[in-house]
Every structure is written in structure tokens, then in C-alpha cells.
């Protein structure tokens, strides 16, 4: 703790120049075993090279730097000897330190004491752009973000070749020094949104940012809400389309997921594949997803409420099925439901923690063996088993993983309320949920936007997805400076020139 403090104090202190602090820095650097320093005899006396082996590409060092550097006479001639762009010569100790940690190597000669040359030779060991796994789509682009910010920016910029696409770089984290880029299209995105995002990011007080999900949790409007208020996506095409709608995107170095804001509840149930399908099919799939959410949250609580309090509601033909399946079970419906829900959560958690191949086995063991065995042993009724399994399945249809987790979590308060006061409890919980959602905002914009407040402009692409010519305007929620995407009249008028004309 004390050590970090001293480092930070040095950073914050006045710019220290001269040999004395540089010597101190050198001392500090040499303390680490992966910092390498060696001295040559060159044309102009002693030549010293220092770098972190873990950060430097050996190939550049061997091919471009070492063969050329021997004839170095003055540190200012460095750029004419080495075929690497943007060589800096400085005496700023802080800059030297930062550059060394960012994959530069330092060169200095006894002749030009106090002047340090910095050569960029970072090792590129990020993984290749691969197929999106979380947001897989059968049709459409198959590239997803990787951990390198530069690669990710490249993926977005390729899709938006515009000078208006601007990025603001912010460094966050006192020890992780994570580079974060805020992306927006100048002239489309609302300046207020950009301002809010950059301000919230630069105000952050945190030591480490290891993933973009840190930022989601830290900068969203209500941090206690189980609902994420920023979409995270691994698809560059989704980010590009969000930017085109006047939204702001955040890319984090080291995170394979970008963030989009402002956003609304309905966007969390939009799979990007929807845009690659015919509008009728896409609308159907979206409706299925919304049904799945409601089903997943409500079906088990309704089962518990009806079986515990409202036997009158059971249709007469279903009574015998329900009662026979529950007959051998000694537990009240709530315990039965909780046990099964817990079992499903255990299976999910075990599957998530284990390697894929073992995970599959867990699915089979849990799903089939435990399921049938517990029914046969008379611990759970098979009707509830079906219901809980369906509800779990339905919760997995949510395209945004974070939202899927939320859906699974908010089922439990519903369950308890259903047990305490029956369907009234389910209704009360639902009211609480609605109130909470109504109070939520994303970058200060209402979270239920196209529905409440009702905005037809956004409604065409929310619960339903109308044909692309109908989406000629940017959604009202992003409050775009220019809300016209394209000319709707021209888009709807399809004219074929005939041979005879």
C-alpha cells in the first residue's frame, strides 16, 4: 500500500527533469527481472539499450534496431538509422516510463546525456479476429471483437469509413492504465450523450479495469439495478449500426466486448441477426423472445400461486394431471419449485464453470438423471419439472447475456411473493418491476423509451421490426442531431426500368 502511494505521489508531483530522477527511474526498472539493459560501444561512445522483454517484439529488435544502431553518433539521428516511424527523443521521465510500459525501448548514449530516444517495437500477441460466439448468427458478418483496442477500432472503422467517426481516448485505472475509447459520429450523435459518457469515464476512481463490464457497472445510471443499462456486444456490425443511430460506443483495451449507450429495455432482446432476416420473420422471432421473457419470469410463480391458493383457476381437465403428479410429494409447492429452480441454477453454474466437454456431460447428468430420478423418487412433480425446464430454456433466448442473467434472478422475488400472497403477490411484484423499469434511465434517457414515453420513431424497431425503408429515422431515444437516416420516400419507391421504356 505504501509503495503504491509513493508511486502515485511521484506521478502527481511536478515534472521532474534531469539526471537525478532518471537515475532513480533506472534503478526502479532494473529491479524487475524482465527489464533488460545492455551497453554497446558505438561510434559515439557508450550506447545503452533498455526494454521490457515481455513487451518488445524480438523480431523488430533483431532485424530493424540492433543492426542499424551501431553507427549511431547522436541521439537525434536515431530516426534516420532505424526504419521505424515516430521515434521520440525526450528527457521527460514520466513519458519515458509510460512509453517503456507501452512497448517502447529506450536508447541513450553517453554523448547526449539526459536525452533518451524511444523506439516503438511492441509485441503483437493478441488473438486473431474470430467468429462471434455469444452473439452468433447463421447469416451475416462473422467477425467479433478481440482484446486489442487497435484491432477493434479497425473493425469498426472499416464499416464506417468517415472522417466524422471520432474517438476520444481516456486512460482509466491507477494501476491498470486501461485505454478506453469513446466512439461517436460527429454530426449525428448527440453531443450531450458524448459529454455524459466522457465525463462519467474520466471521473471514474478505480485502480483496475479488466473488462468493459467493469465500466457498465460503474457508469450506468442506477448501479443497484439488476438491469444492465448499457448493451455489451461482441459484434462490430452492431456497434457500427448503433453509431449510425446516433448512439455512443465505448471500446476498452483488453475487452472483447464493446458497450453501447443510450439504450432501452427492448434493445436487449434484439439479436443482431434480426436485421439479416425478412422483417416478418424477424418480428416473429422478436415476439417469441418477448413471450419467452414473460413466460420465464411468470410461469413458475403462477404455478406456485395457483397451486397454493387458487385451485379454482385450474381447468377441470387439468386438475387430475396436476393432483396426480403432486400426490406423492411431501413438500409444499414453493419448496418444490425452489428446489427445482436451484437445481437448474446449479446445472447452469456447473456448466459455466467447467470446460465445454465436461459441461455437456453435466447437462446430461443433471437434466436427465437428476430430473427423472427426482420425479420417480417423489420429490418433484413432473409437471413442475417441465415448467421449470421450459422457463430456464426461455431465459436463455435473451440475446444479451447480461440481461439473461437478470431475467433468471428476478424470478425469485416473484416466487416468494407468489407463495406468500398468491396471484396478488405476482401482480404486486410485477408492479414493482414496472415501476423500477419506468424509473430507470440510460445516460439520462428513459429506459422504456419507444413504449413509454411512446415514440413511433423508435417503435418501428423495438418489439417489432418493420421493413428497412420504414426505419428511415433514427430512434428518438438517442436524440440524434440529425435524425434522418435516409429519404423514406425514395426508399419505398422501387422503380425498375423496363426494356420497353
Amino acid at each position: 500500500m505504501k509503495r503504491w502511494k509513493t508511486i502515485r505521489n511521484k506521478e502527481n508531483g511536478k515534472e521532474q527533469q534531469g539526471e537525478e530522477p532518471f537515475q532513480a527511474l533506472l534503478q526502479q526498472l532494473v529491479n524487475s527481472d524482465d527489464f533488460i539493459q545492455f551497453t554497446y560501444k558505438s561510434a559515439a561512445g557508450l550506447l545503452c539499450i533498455g526494454y521490457y522483454t515481455s513487451l518488445i517484439d524480438g523480431k523488430i529488435l533483431h532485424q530493424d534496431i540492433l543492426p542499424n544502431i551501431k553507427s549511431l553518433e547522436s541521439i537525434h539521428h536515431l530516426h534516420s538509422l532505424i526504419p521505424i516511424e515516430n521515434i521520440i527523443v525526450t528527457s521527460d521521465v514520466t513519458k519515458i516510463k509510460d512509453s517503456l510500459l507501452n512497448g517502447h525501448m529506450m536508447v541513450f548514449i553517453t554523448k547526449d546525456i539526459g536525452q533518451i530516444g524511444l523506439v516503438r517495437a511492441p509485441v503483437d500477441n493478441t488473438r486473431e479476429v474470430s467468429i462471434p460466439e455469444v452473439e452468433f448468427s447463421v447469416v451475416g458478418p462473422k467477425e467479433s471483437f478481440v482484446e486489442s483496442l487497435d484491432k477493434n477500432l479497425n473493425l469498426v472503422r472499416k464499416r464506417l469509413p468517415l472522417p466524422e467517426l471520432k474517438t476520444i481516448e481516456i486512460v482509466i485505472g491507477t494501476i491498470s492504465k486501461t485505454k478506453v475509447s469513446v466512439l461517436y459520429i460527429d454530426g449525428i450523435a448527440n453531443k450531450e450523450n458524448v459529454q455524459t459518457v466522457t465525463q462519467r469515464l474520466s471521473d471514474l476512481e478505480i485502480d483496475q479495469v479488466n473488462d468493459s463490464s467493469y465500466l457498465t457497472q460503474l457508469i450506468q445510471d442506477n448501479q443497484n439495478s439488476p438491469f444492465p443499462q448499457l448493451i455489451d456486444t461482441e459484434r462490430p456490425d452492431r456497434i457500427a449500426s448503433a453509431l449510425g443511430e446516433g448512439k455512443v460506443a465505448i471500446l476498452v483495451d483488453g475487452a472483447p466486448h464493446g458497450l453501447i449507450a443510450p439504450t432501452n429495455l427492448f434493445e436487449f432482446f434484439v439479436a443482431y441477426e434480426d436485421y439479416f432476416l425478412n422483417w416478418a420473420v424477424a418480428t416473429f422471432f422478436r415476439l417469441v423472445r418477448f413471450f419467452a421473457v414473460l413466460f420465464s419470469i411468470l410461469i413458475t410463480p403462477i404455478y406456485v400461486a395457483v397451486l397454493t391458493y387458487h385451485y379454482e383457476l385450474i381447468p377441470k381437465d387439468l386438475v387430475s394431471t396436476l393432483v396426480t403428479s403432486r400426490n406423492p410429494i411431501p413438500l409444499p409447492p414453493i419448496m418444490e419449485a425452489l428446489i427445482l429452480e436451484l437445481a437448474i441454477e446449479l446445472l447452469r453454474e456447473a456448466g459455466a464453470r467447467l470446460p465445454t466437454k465436461v459441461g455437456q456431460t453435466i447437462g446430461i447428468v443433471g437434466g436427465i438423471v437428476i430430473g427423472t430420478a427426482s420425479v420417480e423418487a417423489g420429490l418433484t412433480s413432473n409437471v413442475l419439472l417441465i415448467i421449470v425446464a421450459l422457463a430456464a430454456l426461455a431465459s436463455f433466448t435473451t440475446p444479451v447475456y447480461q440481461m439473461g442473467n437478470t431475467i433468471r434472478l428476478i424470478r425469485f422475488p416473484f416466487l416468494l411473493m407468489a407463495h406468500y400472497i398468491g396471484l396478488v403477490g405476482v401482480a404486486v411484484s410485477f408492479i414493482f418491476l414496472l415501476i423500477h423499469l419506468l424509473r430507470l434511465s440510460s445516460l439520462g434517457r428513459p429506459f422504456l423509451e419507444p413504449v413509454y414515453p411512446l415514440r413511433l420513431q423508435g417503435l418501428v424497431d423495438s418489439i417489432i421490426r418493420l421493413p428497412i425503408p420504414f426505419q428511415s429515422k433514427r430512434p428518438a431515444q438517442s436524440q440524434a442531431e440529425d435524425d434522418k437516416k435516409f429519404n423514406a420516400m425514395k426508399a419505398k419507391r422501387i422503380k425498375d426500368t423496363k426494356k420497353n421504356d
Partner: protein, 361 residues
């Protein structure tokens, strides 16, 4: 942070205080005795015998019918007496059929219905039925793999949907009971050699059974009763061995009341499209179809008039003719109508069209 702490505190306090309010009695479905049918039988004076039937669900997925019987004067007292003998608490939320024996129906049973209507867990779609036999006897028998309540309810349901019984339930019974110018009509069920079934339609004056429409006449009643109806079937006999069966494809019924609240004639106009289902009088041709149309028209008008006359004599109005008059006048007077009703000439005019005669190859 302070606000959050206050909120959590409030939540904790209200949760502890409200647990007292949450002591709602649970009614877990498999820990209840779900009565599906209740039968009432007149014993003497005020005393009635009540039998409930309920399903017992066995683990091999079969359902056994069981009954409990008690005798008392008050309906809810009966429940308490039955509860004394029951393994699980008896609840009436899944009641499907309420049966009254003929004796009780003739004495009037509205007082007994009262307790059933007051109970919010009893649906208004429960069937009310008159039983020609002993309710205890009928309810204690099991028909198929279901309890007798559901079985009886299915019989009635099926006949309302596809057969000759007009729509009936607890709500409609009480509606017609209180309505001015209309009287209730509910099915009469009885045991026969091959089980239990609907025998006739019982007609009520207030809550007393006064008359009944037999099976053969239900066709005419149903067509007259519903303003739009379809699917009713009728057999007609031309003579000893020449018969035909027809089905009503679509019929409409209209009233013509020229001078309401007077002795003037009331006309009921029926337009029906019918189809021949069975015919054994040689080849059908256009002339014969025409002949049949006339035959049915004559028969329909005669039979309907006869039925209405019976209603007038018994002082019951299941067709709701009074209600038709009431909607056409501002001088409605219940007492005056009751005096007028038996003597008003009511005629039926039928217009029959045979649209199909089936397919013969």
C-alpha cells in the same frame, strides 16, 4: 447511501410487521377435497339430504369417485357435517354440477341456491340440474375414469354445445329467476339402463318446477328460443315406415309485437335452412323436397303453437315472450302482464328451406 439505508430499514420494518398480515390460509390443491357435484334431496319439511361427490386421485393416474352425505336444514351446516367425515377439507371451488331431486324442485329450491351464489369460490358457470332419481344413488356411481361430477358436467356441456339443450348455468338460472317476463328452464337428468343422461327440459315458474319439455319437442323449443341457432336435429315421420331426419343448418327467429301490453296477437317468425340427413322414402326429387318443406313448415307451426299454449296454461314463460314485449313498450307492468300472458294469441310462422339433401353415389 443514506437514502438507501433508510429504504432498506423501512423494508425490513414493514416486512416484519407485515408477516402478520400475510398469514393467508393456503389451499394447496392436493390437500383439498375438491367437490365436483352437489346433490340435494328433500327428506321432510325443511330437512334436506346433501351428497357431494369428489374425485380421489390415485397414484396410478386413475380417478375414483367418492361421496359424502349429510342431513340438515341449512346448506352450509351440511358442509360442516360433511367436513367432520372428510380426510381433507372440502372446498366447493371446483363445483361443476348442482343437482336437486324432483321433489325439491317442485317445492322450490331457491333458498338452497342462495348459499351457493353467496360463495365467491363457486363459479357462475356451474350447471343446475333437476334429477329424477335419488342424488345419492346417482352420485355414488362411477362412470368411466373420472368422478361423477365431471362426467355429468361433460354430458350437459356437450349437449349445450352440439345438441338440443339451450345454454344453462347458475348465472342464467338466477338471471331468469329475477328477470321480468322470463322464467328459468334447466335440464332434467335421469338414470337409465345404460347410465345417466338428459331426459327433458324442466320449466320453472319462479323457482318451482311446473312443466317439462320432452325430448321430441326440444327441437322446436330450441329453434324458437335462440334468435340464431344451428345444429339441431329432428326426426320426422310421414307415416308408419316413411321417415326422414333433418338438421337445422341455420335459423333465425324474430318477434312481431304490434301492440305491446294488450291482447293483440304476437307473431313469432322463424326462417330456417335445413338439410336432410336420412331419408327412406324412395328417390328424392325437387317435388318431394318441396313437399317436405311444406310438411315441416306445417308441423313446426303446429307443434310450436302447441308448446306455447302449454307454457301459457302453466303460467311459465321460458321463451321470454314477456321480455320481448317489455323491450317494445314503455308501459311495462309485471302484474298486468301476468294476467294478460295466458290469453294472448301467439302464433308461429315458419319459412323452411331445404338447401341440401346429402350426397349419394
Amino acid at each position: 447511501m443514506g437514502k438507501l439505508r433508510i429504504n432498506i430499514g423501512l423494508l425490513a420494518v414493514s416486512a416484519t410487521l407485515l408477516t402478520g398480515c400475510m398469514g393467508i390460509e393456503t389451499q394447496v390443491v392436493d390437500e383439498l377435497q375438491l367437490a365436483t357435484a352437489a346433490g340435494f334431496k328433500h327428506i321432510k319439511d325443511d330437512e334436506i339430504e346433501a351428497t357431494i361427490s369428489f374425485p380421489v386421485f390415485l397414484t396410478d393416474k386413475t380417478v375414483k369417485n367418492a361421496t359424502l352425505t349429510a342431513t340438515d336444514t341449512l346448506n352450509k351446516e351440511l358442509r360442516d357435517r360433511q367436513n367432520l367425515k372428510s380426510e381433507k377439507p372440502i372446498v366447493s371451488g371446483k363445483l361443476e354440477v348442482i343437482l336437486f331431486d324432483r321433489q325439491l324442485a317442485e317445492r322450490g329450491f331457491f333458498d338452497h341456491l342462495d348459499s351457493l351464489m353467496r360463495d365467491p369460490s363457486i363459479g357462475s358457470k356451474v350447471f343446475v340440474v333437476v334429477l329424477d332419481d335419488d342424488p345419492k344413488d346417482v352420485l355414488s356411481k362411477q362412470y368411466g375414469n373420472k368422478d361423477t361430477g365431471i362426467y355429468l358436467s361433460n354430458i350437459i356441456q356437450q349437449n349445450i354445445e352440439t345438441g338440443l339443450i339451450p345454454k344453462t348455468n347458475l348465472h342464467l338460472f338466477t338471471y331468469n329467476y329475477y328477470a321480468e317476463g322470463k322464467d328459468p328452464a334447466i335440464p332434467i337428468m335421469a338414470q337409465s339402463r345404460d347410465g345417466v343422461g338428459i331426459r327433458a327440459l324442466g320449466l320453472f315458474k319462479h323457482d318451482k318446477l311446473v312443466h317439462q319439455i320432452e325430448k321430441d319437442e326440444l327441437f322446436f323449443y330450441k329453434v324458437l328460443f335462440d334468435s340464431n341457432s344451428s345444429g339441431e336435429t329432428m326426426a320426422i315421420k310421414f307415416n308408419e315406415d316413411k321417415k326422414a331426419s333433418i338438421i337445422n343448418v341455420e335459423s333465425t327467429r324474430k318477434y312481431e309485437v304490434l301492440q305491446p301490453m294488450s291482447n293483440a296477437e304476437i307473431k313469432i317468425k322463424v326462417k330456417a335452412k335445413m338439410m336432410i340427413r336420412e331419408y327412406n322414402n324412395g328417390l328424392l326429387n325437387k317435388d318431394k323436397m318441396k313437399e317436405m318443406e311444406n310438411f315441416i313448415k306445417k308441423r313446426f307451426e303446429e307443434k310450436s303453437a302447441e308448446l306455447i299454449q302449454q307454457f301459457q296454461q302453466k303460467g311459465t314463460d321460458p321463451l321470454g315472450i314477456g321480455e320481448q314485449v317489455r323491450t317494445r313498450t314503455r308501459n311495462w307492468d309485471k302484474k298486468k302482464w301476468d294476467e294478460l300472458y295466458p290469453n294472448i294469441p301467439i302464433t308461429v310462422q315458419a319459412e323452411i328451406e331445404m338447401i341440401e339433401s346429402g350426397l349419394i353415389n
